[in-house]
Structures are given as C-alpha cells and as structure tokens.
Symmetry: C2
C-alpha cells in the first residue's frame, strides 16, 4: 500500500468498527486485552470509550497509561494497531457527551454514577497489518 | 458461572477458536496486539502458534516473554484472557510438528527456513469475561 493510502485506509477501518481491543499493562507487567465498544473517534488521533470506574483496566491505566487499540477484520485479518495513552475522564461534560441509551445496565445510578468513566485514547503511532505487509506511521 | 464450570467453558471457547490475539509489550513499553492462527492447544495451559522469526513480536518476546492470548466471540463478547509467557522454538522437532500445508507462503525456504519459528505460550492465569461478570483463575 502506498504511504498516502495508509491513513485513509486505517481511518475507514476504524470508522466502520464498533469494537476495539484495548490493550493495557497489568500490575504484574503482563499485557492484557479486552473488547471495548468504540464510541467516537477524531480521525485516528483520539478514540473515546466508556467503562466502569471500578474495573481492573482503570486501575491498570492509573498506574500505567500506556495502551493500545487494535482493530481487526476477518477473514483477511486486516489489522490496525494504534499505540498511545489513555486519559480517564470523570467530568460532567464528558459524562454527558458520551452517555448512551441503555447505559443504565452498566451504570445503574445514571449519568452521575461514580462508577461511570469515559476513556480518551490518544494515539502516537500506528501499525497497519495488510496482505502480509506491516507499515508503521506516526500520528 | 459456577467455579467448576469456568475451565470447561474456557476450554470449549479455545478449542473452537481459530484465532487468538497475542498481546506483547513492545520495546517502548506499550502493549501490542495482533491476530494469530492458533495451531494446537494442551488444555488451557499451552497454546502453539507460528510466526516469522524476523517479526517485531519475536524481538519483543526475546526482550520480554510476558504475553497474553485473548479469545473473544461476538456478538456477546464472551472473552477469555490468558496471561503467561512465550517460548520461541526453532528446533527441528517443533518445526516438523507444526508445519502445515501452505506455510511456504510465509516461509518460502520450507521447513528449515530460518525465518520459521514456533511460539509456545504457557498460561499462568486466566480471566473469563462473561455476561458482565469477570472471573479470575490460576492455571
């Protein structure tokens, strides 16, 4: 793939993905992953998700904000790995902006539930896996 | 899920998965992920894959063998995260045992291609994500 095609190609993959795999480093120094609902993205630079403030990943991110988001599509395993850091947002504006119908299932006390947190991932670097080739780029 | 149901449930998920997401820690201290073909498994304890010996993940694993394998199934996002370490196998017996038809696409020089490596992941701990609950177990 030509250099100028990488960013638009990666962005299309992110835009059509509902799910991202969030990678963190746990307290024992092991890489951990879990599927997360991708909520919004600003190009490939920023991606927002929500999670329980009491969850293990939040604890891991408070200790070490280094993270990755991996987007992958079967059957060809076209993959985009974004490397960056995660900020944990608990302010009212972020809560309001990312609240969705049905979130009461996860945060029973509603929009001000102290267990409701927004994650903002900021990418620094991207790696595109495509057709047996791997291309790395800065963000 | 009852404690005695976790291991069989996790094993069924691994047995029917063709793909595992291998998590490593890269040279800059960021968690990295990529989809890998799961080749064989011995219960939940050992899982074998193959890769190019020249790949970035091998370099990462040589520096830091701590790794994870994540198995996930849509639409309910039932997920199993295994945490452990990876050993890189280059001996003839392992090459022979895990060689598959079509591998020439990845390793053009065949079974003795110096770029053909087998990865053996050994799990120490498991985390099952199921129906909004998270259950941790030792392996």
């Amino acid at each position: 793939m030509k250099k100028q095609e990488i960013l638009p190609f990666g962005l299309e993959l992110v835009n059509r993905s509902e799910i991202a795999l969030l990678g963190t480093i746990n307290e024992d120094g092991f890489p951990a992953s879990r599927a997360m609902l991708k909520m919004e993205n600003q190009e490939l630079k920023k991606i927002w998700m929500s999670t329980n403030n009491s969850s293990g990943k939040i604890e891991q991110l408070r200790k070490n904000p280094n993270a990755s988001l991996y987007f992958v599509e079967e059957p060809k395993y076209i993959g985009l790995l974004l490397l960056g850091t995660v900020e944990i947002l608990l302010d009212s504006q972020s809560r309001q902006r990312f609240w969705r119908d049905g979130f009461e299932m996860y945060y029973p006390k509603g929009i001000n539930d102290p267990d409701y947190a927004v994650l903002c991932f900021t990418a620094q670097k991207g790696i595109l896996y495509y057709d047996l080739s791997i291309q790395t780029f800065d963000l």
